[in-house]
Amino acid sequence: MSNNNAYWRANLRLMVVLLLVWFLVSFVCGILIVDYLDQFHLFGYKLGFWFSQQGSIYFFVALIFVYAWRMNRLDKRFGVDEEGDD
């Protein structure tokens, strides 16, 4: 049971970090400080506009793949992975 608890805590730590990034790129950069960021430019985009209409979506995709990859490693490390190969 304590092994499972340690696994769960590691899972929660990873999750909190990734959700902070999720909040930062969407709610913070795309909404709360969007007007401030708009004074900077990324090619032809105002930076805030880029975050809210393009960048946040790219980050979302990356976050899920990072999570899946790290969780597969956690599963193995704590010996709770499912049988069967890819």
Binding site: W8, M71, D75, D81
Partner: protein, 584 residues
């Protein structure tokens, strides 16, 4: 070959493919029918989830909304993609480990309560029918404009196709049809976007073209040019928003939590073989979705530029063919305020009231007469937002086959979502109501028969929604997301992350969240629509965003009530411990 012939050809060809797949993948058991036997490859499930998720609203309406709202459109772009992060990290893997068929299954078992299961069933059916009604309007619009058949006949054809593969194939048939539909819809969305991106910026990637320089030799960035054009015509600059920050925040959060809590999306993660597949499958789904969602703002900006360039200042008598066709369909209107025979496109809404009410006969230039009064500005043009994606290829004078392709894509988007929703409705009835509540002794074959009958009835009801569209469809879309955010999302999340959460807490939370959200939306949309503006809103939050507050209330009430009531039984706590770990 004419555009209409090509449209018949494309639509006919894609429909044959869907039927072929349905025959090939018939369902033999309830497990096949509900979750495709849990044998779907994560990439296939990703594509199916994407098609399931991207509805007529994403395909037909979203770019149009962004084209007219500019920066404010970001709430849909972030809201409808960010929810997948919540789904992948917080819900999907655990629900897959739980290994049941439906969302009410989880709610009923985790909270050891038939009452909780029934509340969940009612929510599932309400949310799904709300959503289906919107899809049927999409099918009707595409058929009436491009195939020039009666809207009702179009709806009947669409329902016939869905009936065939949903009733016969269940989840198995729907899954593989949705994979094909994803391919059709993404191809149909990207091809015109690439054409137009090259025409305006020479960049073949629309999402990069949006941030590139115009290719007319001026060296201006496209977005800067568009900001200039819109400001000059007295409109809000494209990259500036007009919604308040708090409202944007709450709407985006409600759409995200709502996305993660929508039953027809969640159930897709029951169809993959393993927990690790559920995690990665959400990632594939979001890649497939992001392909369309990062293209949509580019389509929106290109369309706004093309409309201003090709419409503002033209003489009505020389207006292009598409302009008159959409006017005949009732989705474009022109009121010649200064009687110069030219179309002036300016800021503000042209008509009072804002949507056209056509009268009899034709005006001096041959335009359809309107009963609306002229509004107090120089704008003479009304364009329905829903036509932007469909009309844009014609506005930009793309070849006929592209126009035909877009029609087939719009149908694929609407039909795939409708099928997914109908399956969720039929499962809720046959599995959660019949098998689990009222007739627990029926066997697998009888349950499968009930599922097919329920699917058939649901298809017919959805068809009626398409033929007699309830006038409140536009008003109730906020319901689907708000209610999912305020009910399912917290109840499932707490069920996984809090072993202490009991049925008293969960039910009290759901009831509070639902009542509050439902009441707020009903008040501003139906009881007192004249006060539906920021002055009267609670904290300045619109009905669209109120689901977020409902969700927070749900969390608070659940946590407090569960602390003062008995802990859940030991075997329930063991289930919670068990779903947290992938290995059985």
């Amino acid at each position: 070959m004419s555009a209409q012939f090509l449209t018949y050809l494309f639509v006919g060809a894609t429909f044959s493919v869907y039927i072929g797949i349905a025959i090939w993948s018939r369902s033999a058991s309830t497990s096949d029918f509900y979750v495709a036997g849990s044998h779907v490859h994560p990439i296939a499930n990703g594509a199916a989830t994407a098609a399931d998720w991207m509805s007529a609203a994403s395909f037909l309406s979203m770019a149009g909304i962004i084209a007219f709202e500019g920066a404010d459109g970001a709430r849909y772009l972030m809201g409808w993609t960010g929810g997948y992060v919540l789904l992948a990290l917080l819900l999907a893997p655990y629900l897959r480990k739980f290994a049941k068929y439906t969302v009410p299954d989880f709610v009923g078992d985790r909270y050891y309560s038939h009452a909780a299961r029934l509340v969940a069933v009612v929510c599932v059916i309400f949310i799904s029918f709300t959503y289906v009604a919107g899809q049927m309007r999409g099918v009707g619009v595409v058929f009436s404009r491009f195939l020039e058949v009666d809207i009702n006949l179009g709806v009947v054809i669409g329902m016939g196709i869905v009936f065939f593969y949903a009733v016969m194939g269940g989840m198995k048939g729907i899954t593989y049809t949705q994979v094909a539909q994803y391919c059709v819809l993404i191809f149909a969305y990207l091809v015109p976007a690439i054409f137009i991106s090259v025409m305006l910026t020479n960049n073949p990637f629309p999402m990069l073209g949006l941030g590139s320089e115009m290719n007319d030799g001026s060296g201006d960035y496209l977005l800067d040019r568009l900001d200039g054009m819109t400001t000059e015509l007295g409109m809000t600059a494209f990259t500036d928003g007009s919604k308040s920050t708090i409202d944007m925040f709450f709407i985006t959060a409600a759409l995200m939590a709502g996305t993660a809590g929508l039953p027809h999306v969640i159930v897709r993660f029951f169809t993959v073989p393993r927990v690790r597949d559920a995690r990665i499958s959400a990632g594939y789904a979001l890649i497939f979705i992001a392909l369309l969602y990062t293209t949509a703002p580019a389509v929106a900006a290109f369309a706004r530029i093309n409309i201003i360039n090709h419409v503002d200042g033209i003489v009505y008598e020389q207006a292009p063919e598409w302009f008159r066709k959409w006017e005949d369909t009732g989705l474009i209107a022109w009121l010649d305020k200064n009687e110069d025979g030219q179309v002036q496109y300016r800021g503000g809404s042209a008509l009072d009231p804002a949507t056209p009410d056509y009268g009899q006969g034709r005006g001096d230039s041959g335009e359809r007469m309107l009963n609306n009064a002229a509004s107090d500005n120089d704008n003479e043009l009304y364009i329905d937002r829903d036509i932007i994606v469909l009309a844009h290829p014609e506005i930009a004078r793309l070849p006929d086959w592209v126009v035909a392709l877009v029609a087939a894509g719009g149908l694929a988007a609407a039909l795939s979502t409708a099928a997914g929703l109908l399956l969720v409705i039929s499962t809720a009835i046959s599995h959660d109501l019949m098998k689990k509540t009222f007739m627990p002794r029926i066997n697998d074959r009888q349950e499968l028969l009930f599922a097919r009958i329920a699917a058939a009835v649901a298809v017919c009801v959805a068809g009626l929604f398409g033929i007699y569209p309830p006038g409140f469809v536009a008003q109730v879309v906020a319901f689907a997301f708000g209610l999912a955010a305020a009910s399912f999302f917290p109840v499932i999340l707490l069920g996984i992350f809090s072993t202490r959460m009991n049925k008293e807490g969960a039910i009290a939370g759901m009831v509070t969240g639902l009542t509050f959200t439902f009441g707020y939306i009903v008040y501003f949309k139906f009881v007192s629509p004249e006060s539906d503006n920021a002055v009267y809103w609670l904290f300045g939050i619109s009905p669209e965003g109120i689901g977020t507050l409902g969700m927070l209330l749900n969390f608070a009430v659940s946590l407090i009530v569960s602390r003062f009531t008995p802990a859940p039984p030991a075997e329930i706590q063991a289930i919670v411990q068990n779903i947290r770990v992938p290995r059985t």
